[in-house]
Symmetry: C2
Subunit: 171 residues, 2 copies
Amino acid sequence: MIAPERCHCSSRPQTSPSKYNDNAMVINKLTPEESKSILLQATVARLACALDNQPYVVPIYFAYEDGNLYALSTLGQKIEWMRANPKVCVQVDEIQSHEQWASVVVNGRYQELREPQYSEEHAHAKKLLERRHRWWQTAMAERQITSGDHLIAPLLFRIQIDSMTGLRATT
Amino acid sequence: MIAPERCHCSSRPQTSPSKYNDNAMVINKLTPEESKSILLQATVARLACALDNQPYVVPIYFAYEDGNLYALSTLGQKIEWMRANPKVCVQVDEIQSHEQWASVVVNGRYQELREPQYSEEHAHAKKLLERRHRWWQTAMAERQITSGDHLIAPLLFRIQIDSMTGLRATT
C-alpha cells in the first residue's frame, strides 16, 4: 500500500488497473456510504494535527457516528495542539495485504466536549466509547506513565467531519 | 490502543500499570535501538505533512536505513505540500491487540532525491525499496487512477529523522 493521497484528493477516473504487472491491482474510489462503513467498523485511526506548520500524528481509539469521530484522551501534546489549531486530518484503513486494502482520509475540526456546555454530547460520546473494549484502562495507563497521577478526568472530544475520501485496492 | 502521544513526548517514569483493571496494561518507553528495530521490520507508515496549518495524513510504503525513511511516490498532494513545508511526522506501529502494541513517532524533514544532485542516494533508495513486495506496481496503479498517464517517473524521497520516540504496551 503506497501513498494513496493522489487518489484521495482527485476526481479523475475511478478505476485503473496497473499496466506493470499481469496480476493487476485496481484502485476504486469509495462511495460516501462505503467510507462511512469503514469508519463504523474501525476502532483505531491515525489523527494528525499541526502547530506552527509542524505536523504530529498519533494513533487514537475512536467511534464514528453521524458525521463525527468521537475519542477520549487525557491532556497532552495532541490536545494542546488541537486547542491551538482545531484543523485535523484523520486516516483510517482496513489492510488485508499490500494489494487488498481500503483507506479513508477525513478532514475535520476538533471540538472538545466540555461540561456543562456540551454535557449531552459528553454523555453520548462516553456511552459510544464505553461499548469499546478497555478504552478506559488504556487511556488511564497512558496518562499514568506521563504524570503519575491516580485520578484523572478523561477528556472527550469529537472531530466534526468537513470532507472525506476513500479508496479501495483489489486485485 | 489510545493516543500514546503523551508518552511519546514525555520523559516521565517509564513504566506504570493501570490501576483500573486487575489485568493491568503496562506501557514502556522503547530504547532507540528498539524503535529502530520496529522501523526496520515495518513496511507501512502513516506520514503526516502540513500546509497553512492544515495537517494531512496518508499511509506510505517505506524502508528504514541509517536515520532515514525512504519512500516512493508520484506527484500529488503530499509531495506538493512537503516541497512547500518539509516538516513531517511519521508514525509506525506493530499492533497485536489493544493491549499489545508498539508505536514509534518520528519527527523529520522531507528531502526529495532528485537527479543528478542525489543520483547516488536515488539509486540506493530504489534498491532498498525494490526489495519490497510490488512497490512499483502499487505506485503506478496509484498514479494511473489520477492521471491516466502510462509512463510516469517515480519520485523518490527520504525523511531525515530529527527525533524519534517509541512505546510498547503489554499486559
